[in-house]
Symmetry: C2
Subunit: 111 residues, 2 copies
Amino acid sequence: MRSPCPICAALDLVGDKWSLLIVRDMIWLGKTRYNQFTDSPEHIPTNILADRLKRMERFGLIQSKPYQDNPPRHEYHLTDKGLELRPVLIEMIHWANKHIPGTITPPVPID
Amino acid sequence: MRSPCPICAALDLVGDKWSLLIVRDMIWLGKTRYNQFTDSPEHIPTNILADRLKRMERFGLIQSKPYQDNPPRHEYHLTDKGLELRPVLIEMIHWANKHIPGTITPPVPID
DNA sequence: GTTTTCTACTTGCATTTTACAAGTTACGTG
DNA sequence: CACGTAACTTGTAAAATGCAAGTAGAAAAC
C-alpha cells in the first residue's frame, strides 16, 4: 500500500484503464466468460485480460468457477466486493455524460 | 476515445494511479502548488506530477494561474469539471473503507 | 473421419509508461 | 556571496501495455 488513504488503496486495486471495464461488463452486461470480454468494443488485449482476471481474483473482486474439466474452463463472477463498485461506476457515468462530449448514456438502466 | 462508453471515456482521462490523488489533494486539502503535491504521503515522482498537471490541464480538469513572472510559477486550481469528480471519489472512499482493511476514514469531512 | 472452427489462453517482442535519482535555474535568506 | 528552496527537466532502468502469433483440446462441418 502506498498510503492508508482509501482513495489511494482503491486506485492500487482498480486504478488502470481496464479493470473497471471488466467490472462494467459483468454488472450491466452479465458477462462471465473470456470471449465475452474480448468482444467488448474497447478490444482488450488477451494478455491483459488474462492478467486482470487473475489480479482481480487475487484481490477478491471476482471468483472463478470451473464449468468443465477437460480442458479446464471457468466462468468469472463478481464477489460482493466487486459488485459494490457499482456506485463508483454510476458516479463515473454521471460525470462523463455531463463533461465528456460524445459519451452515450448506456441503453440499460444504470440504477 | 476507445469507445463512446462513459466509463471508458472517464478512464481515458483519469484511469491511472496518480491523477485522482492530485484531485483529492486539491478538493480536501486545498493544495495548489507543486511542492504541496510532492509532500503527500504517496510521494508522486516529480516527472509524473509535471506530466499529470499538464495532462489534466489539457483535459480541462484544472487550470493553472501564474502567481509570479520571474521565474514563471503557477498555482493549479480545479475547474468545475475537475471539482465534480468529488462524488466519484466519495464513492471510492465508501467502498475502500468497507472492503480494504487498513484504510483510514479521512480526518476531514468528505461530504 | 479428417479438416476446420472455436474457446481460452500463453508467449514473444516492440512500444510506452513509470520510478528513481540527479541536475538546473532563478529567487530568497543570512 | 554561500546556501537553501521552489518548480521543474533530464537520464535511465524497470515495469506495464499493446499487438501478433502460437497452442491445446473439443466441437462442428463436410
